[in-house]
Amino acid sequence: MKQNPDLILREIYGKNILMPIRYNEASNDPIYFNEVAALIWKLSDEAKDPTDLLNAVCRSYNLKTGSAEAAAVEGFINQLLESKLILAE
């Protein structure tokens, strides 16, 4: 997996903003991420696939696989993939 290279994550005074660089299908406007979203974005570059990414996020937050929280994270990972903010190689 990889981050969409046409966007860059800016971390400013504890806030996370995904800023557009090049024209792209995902977003040409800033997107304001919370801490979890920013972590998913950062980990997505090292993950092999969405399951690997989900496991990495769950490890970071001590979430049990199959918990409601993990399901929410999985849903968000899918949204990031669908919107092409992160890409499955």
Partner: protein, 372 residues
């Protein structure tokens, strides 16, 4: 669920206000890429005979990267004319790759297909350009350059055809006032945002020559009540004043004004301006106090500007502090300083416009109260 993780469509200014209210950092900035210009506009605030050497690409990158480290999110490039710089593209792409929003202020007469391709690949926030007149004669009466109107119109067509975001500005002056409503209608037909500027500023060296082209306060106010959009704005103000307190400026600005700060705006607090000879100012207007970035670091300059602007309080004599029309006023201390060499010497143009607006709003309130 996703709304809990991320948020789209929030304007950058709102984001900065909501999240960084108490943080002093250069979240927004202006960069004067060059003092050179291919036009010779009668009203231009930038002194035309500045013969300094513009900052180099490396100097630009260095200060830009420092600002990015300190929090820069949103900036604009201005001039002179930005497209006279052969390395404009390199500076623009550098800024975009750092994850900063970039707006451009340009007369667009040098804009070409190459720039269009650049903005398609690296989208610009907005290109803000002035239409100085509706006809060749009135446009060139302001710009002083033959053939500039044709180049402007060709560039406008390029922007429109290629769906590049832009806005039209109109600087209303004696020279072109007859064209104001024609340009307004032209902008409406194109479907682009229009910004009408009614107050011409002194030059950055304090010369008052451009101000002589300024409309009278009565003529400026006339636009407020004849233009449908502006008229509605003031009618809405009346309506809201009837139902409760409203403020026309950001809360922090109002608060700082009440606490007696002379510069209640974001100057040198969350904004900075870098001139093309690498001087650091609090904003584009405040050219009378600057820090030379070739002689010291950004942090030294930032501290200097804090003392000179952010912490500066007004005296008891400052007329604006006790003015009942302040809510209707667009006064700027930096303009007072440029014009009179005194930050507290009020420009009567602003006082009169504010007074006329107040009268209009009060009449409107009376009308509404009567149920008319």
């Amino acid at each position: 669920m996703a709304e809990r993780y991320c948020m789209h469509n929030q304007s950058m200014n709102d984001f900065i206000d909501e999240n960084f209210e108490d943080i002093r950092a250069p979240f927004t900035a202006g960069f004067e890429l060059t003092a050179k210009c291919n036009l010779n506009c009668v009203h231009c605030y930038a002194k035309p005979d500045r013969n300094h050497q513009d900052f180099t690409l490396d100097e630009f990158k260095s200060i830009f990267d420092t600002l990015v480290e300190r929090g820069l999110l949103d900036c604009y490039f201005t001039g002179g004319e930005i497209f006279t710089r052969p390395d404009f593209e390199k500076m623009y792409v550098h800024a975009k790759k750092k994850g900063v929003l970039v707006s451009l202020l340009s007369n667009i007469t040098l804009l070409n297909q190459h720039h269009i391709e650049l903005f398609k690949e690296y989208p610009v926030e907005v290109i803000s350009t002035s239409m100085y007149g509706y006809s060749e004669a009135s446009y060139e009466k302001v710009t002083g350059v033959k053939g500039s109107f044709r180049k402007f119109m060709n560039a406008l067509e390029l922007l429109q055809k290629n769906d590049i975001k832009y806005e039209l500005k109109f600087v209303a002056m004696e020279q072109n006032i007859d064209d104001l409503y024609k340009v307004r209608e032209f902008g409406n037909k194109l479907g682009v945002p229009m910004v009408v500027i009614l107050d011409v500023h002194p030059m950055s060296d304090g010369s008052m020559e451009p101000v002589s082209f300024r409309l009278t306060p009565e003529a400026a106010f006339d636009f407020d009540v004849r233009d449908e959009g502006r008229k509605q704005f003031w009618k809405d103000v009346a309506k809201e004043l009837l139902t409760g307190e409203i403020e026309l400026r950001p809360q922090r600005t109002i608060q700082r004004f009440r606490e007696g700060y002379l510069y209640p705006c974001s100057i040198a607090n969350q904004h900075v301006f870098i001139t093309s000879d690498l001087k650091m100012q609090g904003c584009v207007r405040a050219s009378y106090r600057k820090f030379d970035l070739r002689k010291g670091s950004f942090d030294e300059g930032w501290t200097y500007l804090q003392k000179e602007f952010v912490e500066k309080k007004s005296t008891l004599n400052y007329k604006c502090n006790s003015c009942e029309n302040i809510r209707f006023c667009e006064h700027c201390v930096a303009n007072f300083m440029l014009a009179y060499g005194d930050e507290e010497q009020v420009d009567p143009f602003f006082c009169r416009v504010a007074e006329l607006r107040r009268n209009f709003v009060e009449d409107e309130i009376k009308r509404l109260a009567k149920g008319e």
